[in-house]
Symmetry: C2
């Protein structure tokens, strides 16, 4: 078994949504869904752009899909040789995780199409497709090669005023509706043998049509290049796109491919986890690392990663806490420059977080739950649609999930602890931590007649229980944020004037002394028989099984959460909450505590989010539940191999890749199985290797040095390299 | 038109539920629903007992319906002369509001039944029925006269272990399931002429069967007496009930009726409002005063009045804030001993309120939202059933409607202000106010970085908006409660040792100094163009019309409130909230403020509760909107004349009389139209008489003196009598 390859035989339109995700090509700038070249909107093709957002009318704001510059449609004797219209004799799709190359091989009978394409990691604006047709019958052939403007949007349209330029290089330009961002796509093509061609603007785009009489044994080979630029990249995106194609055609497919592969080689050298003992698991790890690595915003330095990566417009293309909790760990330990980019995004969006805090009457920084460009909150107050009334349901993700600010502070602090690099704190990170702490100061509830401070009316990671008080996770992440703010004085003990200047500049003099006071007042989590109560009153909720709760659904698409949902009024939770806290703060809890809480909460967890299994797996490793850890690891790592997860919620498409699971797979392998942890500036291992794994080997970067970790059933080593 | 009489011609089973309410007889101890003697459970007959509660299995806890001691069923030639089985030639029902006498006159053809019955106001255990049959055909007659155990319960059964004693007096005894309360019903009968009789225990009760051959022109006249005692009244309820019937039979129907009428004469002398100019309105006022007066717990001295009076088991027979806000005003101004009973109920249930506060982690007294005996909370966390899923819906009346404690403190303070009687404060009332204030002390949210105290996560009178912060009404009632606690020091300035002793006894030393502090910190309500914002963020909610909101319903039975309801996410409110505050605290707001808020809130109010119209009417009087005040008055006063209001919510019976509207009618007439108000120990008038009213005249008691108020279009006078 080649653990670098994903293969699928056959074609079914019902799988198109899922296959588009699992066969995705992406490079951080754009994502090209894994559907064949001829696919129309029914098969959900898309070229999704990172960081380019648009809102159409009152619909959800979402990322913009560019015109598709690699669309090819073959017709023979008047019959479309397209998977949507003609059943193939044989069809095979393949994704090479090593180099992010999508291959197809389709035998339609009269002709066979074989292609390979990639989105360049060396030049993120560029996509290339080598497209080969072997004719097996004679006939009249027509091949349309062009830039499709027949764009699949969830909440579109987003592009208006299309302008087409037909020279040797095709060029289509359009403008987003809301902000007038210009998007330009250029396409160039080489074909052998040469064929008569004509160019025309058609309702669905700009196309070159190649027409010829063919005979059995004839072979056409095309190299097609497409390039995307927007006015966010350059004032003249059209010129840039055209120049990019000219360059591509000059150097040719092979050289572009080599540069692309060289870039991937570097990524894998820095991050590949080798797992021996179970080939399916090794493949799933490659898949996970591929999917997370291919969406890293390496080109930018100040961007983060949406919750569904670049696989489409799902979840508004927004940045969630997934970035800090699930993407950040792999990057900080393998490619800290990417981790830095994720956090610079937060630093640069501090104004948006300040604005949101003020909107709710608070001070400091309350980060967006669904953050788009500039840190604007993309989350609405009505984020779910009721299946019975078709009315939007008031949800509280936006206003009550206050742990988001602490999650960001946690990652900033971790970046410093793991890399030893203080520059990020100096360049805005310290200010972010201080402003997040200030938000919590102003959000705390004190009492007239007792010392304890509460954080009331919040939502923890388990989103099914809304508007609770003293969520253990939230209180702990707040405490850590406050302590991290206080710790800045020590971190900058050698630059006291600079630090005092910062406090003065952000008018922090009155707030600073309050930090310690609130830390002292935060109540210890309530416990019962060693189990931490997830929030005040959780244990008083109905304690019933997951099956019982599921049986109460009247419609399988019902939302489980909130007061109206089947889970919200019981102890059934959506995802790791207390266990997530224990995974993030391993030093605060004993093994016995983790074991007791795992045993209590795991059976009560729906795992209704891709963020859940990883946290349970980390805790399972720690307490020696290795069989369960292994199963959770498989579940986590396989998700984008199998194309699992929900594709639809009612009438809303929620499918896509699962970067949080992808990152989670790395976390389970490295932080769980190998037990990697930074303690007091030292990397340490505490292996908990499931019996299925013979050997784990992976590179790690910490405090500016590079190491290789090797773990077997006999133990583990960390070697500097 | 006789404004003391309610009449109805004809019979329709569909009206039975509503008619049972509007033709109710009651005397504070029990309520006898206004259905004919022969009615079986399908017509909802009931003898509902005040203050006797029972829970069956997991159903809602509710008042117990006693066996029905006035059941009579006539059969002639094998045919039941019963409204359920035989269509009458003519049927007329009448209720005499003056004396609470129910009359029926039914011509079935072969026989005509005429009866008069009452529940004695002189002896509240006693009911009497004078039942006359005029035979118009010959035939074999059978008349069953007995104690029916075929009880209509909403959440029953409640009575078990029936024991029947058949002597001259019939006696049925049973025991409640939950607490083993014994309920005894005795029945005695006289008939003229004498007829052959037999007694038998049957599946549906204990019956005497009278059988005879009759001829046209024959007339039977029966006097039937029934008596109810429970073991809460006396250790030997059966003996008491039997003795009560022996006494009744000794004195006879006429003398019992006279004693009953004399008692009513006193009630009317103390309370009757005479309205001239509109007879329908005068009748509606009589109806309202009748319905509120007939359920006053005069026999007890320490009981209150359920929200649906004694008309059945609706709303669990529980005591709501209706008691203090809507029943209390008429009584305190006309029959202060009844007002005192309502408040003594609260004083005696202080332990229950302390327990509830502790249950939620607070100190002091958090009164039950739906209070049953002992102050136990009868309100569940799931008080509504979703019409789509048939699942119970989590509601927050129980845990968030914290204004209840302040409402009670408000009434205690009003009782003292209006009567000048300090005894109630001395005998526990002061302690209640202090404990309510302590509850608010412990419930307040302070902040680390600012002075203001919030009351967060509450529900105001407008129950459609759940879990809001700084509800203006709630904050004001809290402020008044805190101020009333502080004012106790002045009220008891002549007994400082006693008052200090009280503070010591309830360990109030540390809390006392905090009261003033919180008063100072309570934020002033937010305003926009003179309109007070109902709660923080209310103005940011969708501002749409009532019609628009109604049009969004997918099912007419949907609950409007909460996040899931059509109103909860808009500015549409259920009932007076800001306007209720202005009605309760007239001195705090200028006429211009009341006018601005009335104009804003009235169009946004569904008036989905019988508590709403009265408050709007009071405010309308004040700002000279007399036509609207008149319409609201009519709507309020007529409700139990017309038998209006909802009878069913989904599958739950919610019908009954509307004591809050009944009290509201008195409030609009006396406090609104006449503008009666106690200012600085003086009764004052500020008449706002709608053009429809020529003259209002009514008695008032204040500061131990009796007055008559006379108001005409020319002005008003208060004369001591």
């Amino acid at each position: 078994m080649n653990t670098w390859i994903l293969e699928k035989e056959g074609f079914s339109p019902a799988d198109a949504a899922a296959d588009g995700n699992r066969f995705l090509c992406a490079n951080g700038y754009l994502g090209l869904r894994g559907v064949p070249e001829e696919a129309g909107p029914a098969l959900f093709p898309a070229v999704t752009l990172a960081g380019v957002y648009d809102q159409f009318e009152e619909k959800w704001r979402e990322p913009v899909n560019a015109p598709h510059g690699l669309r090819l449609q073959l017709t023979m004797n008047g019959r479309a040789l397209s998977l949507e219209e003609t059943a193939p004799l044989r069809h095979k799709t393949m994704l090479d995780y090593r180099y992010g190359i999508y291959h197809r091989d389709t035998d339609f009978g009269p002709a066979r199409i074989l292609s390979s394409r990639f989105t360049s990691l060396a030049d993120p604006h560029l996509m290339a497709d080598q497209y080969r047709v072997e004719f097996q019958k004679s006939g009249l052939v027509s091949l349309r090669v062009g830039i499709s403007t027949d764009i699949w949007d969830i909440n579109g349209p987003h592009l208006f005023g299309f302008r087409h330029h037909a020279e040797e290089i095709l060029l289509t330009e359009a403008t987003t509706g809301q902000k007038g961002i210009r998007v330009a796509v250029a396409q160039g093509m080489e074909i052998s043998p040469r064929v008569e061609e004509s160019i025309s603007v058609e309702p669905d785009g700009l196309y070159r049509t190649l027409v010829a009489e063919v005979f059995p044994g004839d072979i056409w080979t095309l190299s097609v290049y497409a390039s995307v630029y927007t006015s966010l990249d350059h004032p003249s995106p059209a010129a840039q796109a055209r120049a990019s194609i000219q360059r591509a055609m000059r150097v040719g497919y092979l050289e572009l491919l080599q540069a692309h592969q060289a870039a991937w080689d570097q990524v894998w050298q820095a991050s590949e986890i080798q797992l021996e003992g179970d080939e399916a698991a090794a493949q799933a790890l490659h898949a996970s690392q591929y999917h997370l690595n291919c969406i890293a915003p390496r080109h930018a330095g100040n961007m983060s990663i949406p919750a569904r990566g670049l696989s489409g417009q799902t979840y508004k293309g927004a940045i969630f806490w997934d970035s800090e909790m699930f993407f950040f760990p792999m990057f900080v330990y393998t490619q800290p420059e990417v981790a830095q980019s994720l956090l610079r995004y937060r630093i640069e969006t501090l104004p948006g977080a300040r604005k949101k805090a003020a909107e709710y009457g608070y001070r400091g920084a309350f980060y967006a739950w669904e953050s788009q460009e500039g840190g604007e909150e993309g989350c609405t107050n009505f984020n779910v649609v009721d299946v019975f009334t078709h009315r939007p349901v008031r949800t509280y993700f936006r206003d009550k999930q206050i742990h988001i600010s602490g999650d960001i502070a946690y990652a900033l602090r971790s970046y410093y602890d793991i890399t030893g690099d203080r520059s990020l704190l100096e360049e805005g990170g310290a200010e972010v931590i201080l402003e997040c702490a200030r938000f919590y100061l102003s959000r705390a509830s004190l009492h007239a007649d007792r010392e304890e401070a509460d954080f009331a009316d919040v939502i923890g990671p388990d989103e099914y229980h809304e508007r609770v008080t003293n969520n253990a996770y939230t209180n702990q992440i707040i405490l850590h944020c406050l302590q991290s703010a206080l710790a800045l004085a020590d971190i900058f003990a050698d630059r006291p004037a600079w630090f005092q200047g910062l406090l003065l500049q952000i008018k922090y003099e009155k707030d600073w002394p309050l930090l310690e006071n609130i830390c002292r007042r935060l109540p210890a989590p309530r416990e019962r028989e060693g189990v931490i109560e997830q929030f005040d009153g959780y244990f008083a909720l109905e304690d019933c099984t997951l099956e019982e709760v599921r049986s109460r659904l009247r419609d399988p698409r019902e939302y489980w959460g909130g007061d109206h949902g089947v889970a919200g009024v019981t102890q059934i939770i959506k995802q790791a909450d207390v266990i997530a806290m224990m995974a993030l703060f391993p030093g605060l809890y004993t093994d016995a505590q983790v074991a007791a809480n795992w045993a209590y909460y795991e059976p009560r967890t729906e795992h209704g989010s891709s963020l859940s299994a990883c946290m349970y797996a980390l805790a399972a490793c720690r307490v020696g539940r290795l069989e369960e850890a292994w199963q959770l690891f498989q579940k986590t790592a396989e998700i984008d191999v199998l194309g699992g997860g929900k594709q639809w919620a009612g009438e809303i498409y929620i499918g896509g890749t699962h970067p949080a699971s992808n990152g989670g797979a790395w976390m389970i392998a490295a932080l769980g199985f190998a037990g990697l942890r930074m303690r007091g500036g030292q990397l340490t291992l505490q292996p908990h290797l499931p019996s299925q794994v013979k050997r784990l080997s992976f590179p790690v970067t910490a405090a500016g040095r590079r190491y290789r970790v090797e773990v077997t059933q006999e133990g583990g080593t960390i070697t500097e390299i």
